[in-house]
Amino acid sequence: MRLADVLNIVQARFFLPDSVQSPSPSVLNRELRVGGSADLMSDVLCYDMSQGLLITGLINPQTVRTAEMVDVAAILIVRGKTPPPETIRTAWEAGIPLLGTQMTMFEACGRLYMANLPSAVRFAGAPPPDCTAH
């Protein structure tokens, strides 16, 4: 699935720094290998998210930094949240497209999954999935 398809499927738009008019057209062709959603950043690091789409409700700059560490291809912010300028700038500098949709996490994930975006796989050796239950 390409980033252009994501824009259509979840009715998303780009968040860009004020100085930038439009996203660079080539990012629309960026191929997404998998998708994964999390509101816990350490959770993101547990999954093989490389060349994937990170779907999250978090809007602080660490979201971008986390994504950068695991080679995420693009970030989709759900629930109509608008990230602060420093997050938008960090994403722009890291070369990671930052998108937003009004949809809930549930709906956005559901639509993308139904459109054949596969789920990211958990790394072998990652902490057990239920470890946040403490």
Binding site: P25, S42, R65, C131
Partner: protein, 361 residues
Amino acid sequence: MAQLPLSEQDMLVDRGAGFITRAEELAYELKVEQVMTRDVKTVTPRTLIIDVLNLFREARISGAPVVDQDRLVGVISIEDLIRALRDSGRSELRASVSDYMTTRLVTVNVYDSIIEALKLFAKTKLGRLLVVDRAGRLAGIITKGDITRGLLNALQRDIETEELKRYRASHLFEDIISDRTSLILRYHIAPRDFINGGAASSNIKRALLRLGANPQLARRCGVAVYEAEMNLIIHATNGGDIEVEIEPHQIVIHVTDDGPGIEDIEQAMQPGFSTAPPEIRELGFGAGMGLQNIKRSVDELNIESTPARPRLIMKPKRGREEWELSREPAPGQGTRLTMKFFLQADQSLERHSSTGRESAE
């Protein structure tokens, strides 16, 4: 559910749905003034056609702007000259430019993207466009050849910039001879600096890639150092320091702070154990998976921590007959995290020892 109105970006998506190359993308980024020819031969309305003919022949050009006292008034091309010749033979060569020039001017602005110039070329079938500055004065001309040259140069620069950085860095270990060469990167991490949090990790990851580390190794180092950096920001009273020592065959990352220390390291290693306050958890951190993620990413992990210890203080009272006892904890002396990564022979940052890398190039 309410949906966003279609924005300009969305429309761009539809138009851009086809495959877009880097060259096409550059056509949006490059400005006309970056590729245009500035040194333009011009004529005046009073220049004779015969002189224009000679100018075209000598300068090997096929057209020239007509300028009257700094003002752009027209353009004259080889087609106009042919028209003049056809009209009435040699005598017409004594006519002046104003009789045959084209006054319908097709111009682009210096600050336009070259995509605008390309659109005009397609629409008008012209061979050259006049370029005007903000005041409407002639600044240069642009041809399709200028655009091709400009795009090729830009593509070349694109490739070269990152390649050059990578090339310079990747030769470091083979160019500098010593018994044991290492490169040390140091970063200070400010406490509670969530805005810049992760910037050091980002720079470390980039440095490793430029040094020729394979992407998987860079990702492992990135994840481990990122969790450690966030720990400094969240827990260390005065922030802390990250020191990365890079050698061809191993990478050692020390993360030190003078914060409260870890009470029970084994407990801290348990998945889900966290002492992070709620406001940190709201940022998506403090889930108690940090050390787990570090453990998974590194080849060797060493944690030394001096947490607060109980301390009994005794002070003599009146003539040492009585003692005043007080209990207060001695402050913690911080934590030192050492993360090691061992590079396989085929991942070495020193290219001499890496046969796989050499053949890949």
